[in-house]
């Protein structure tokens, strides 16, 4: 789980904070929250598809 969160942090930082400024704005945070939700959903879709396929 830790590694999944690290990966989500890296991907969402790349997407939501392209030009790091002097603070994290509230719109950066809103983007990060949505991005985290989507990343976890993507993980679920990938797990489901992969498991269905190899079993």
């Amino acid at each position: 789980v830790q590694e999944l969160i690290n990966k989500a942090t890296e991907k969402c930082f790349a997407k939501c904070v392209p030009k790091p400024g002097t603070s994290l704005t509230s719109s950066d945070e809103a983007c990060l929250a949505r991005c985290l939700d989507r990343y976890m959903e993507a993980f679920t879709v990938v797990s489901r598809t992969y498991t269905a396929r190899i079993s």
Partner: protein, 70 residues
């Protein structure tokens, strides 16, 4: 250990298919086509993996046969 390998694969596939399929700014749900892209990405990657391994095996077979003939 097999379990850990499956988990690794799923984590790697998530990262790779995320980069391939999620190109818009993250919204409160997936954009049109993103979710089907994710599952197609996993399926096609597994197809690719099988196809490549089959090709490698076929080439090794041909090599062995050629050696046997000579």
């Amino acid at each position: 250990q097999a379990h850990a390998r499956v988990n690794d694969s799923i984590r790697n596939l998530t990262g790779m298919c995320w980069d391939k399929c999620i190109t818009s700014t993250p919204g409160s749900r997936f954009a049109r086509g993103e979710e089907s892209c994710l599952s197609n990405c996993v399926e096609r990657f597994l197809d690719t993996s099988i196809y490549i391994v089959t090709q490698v095996q076929r080439q090794q077979q041909q090599l062995l046969q050629a050696q046997g003939d000579s």
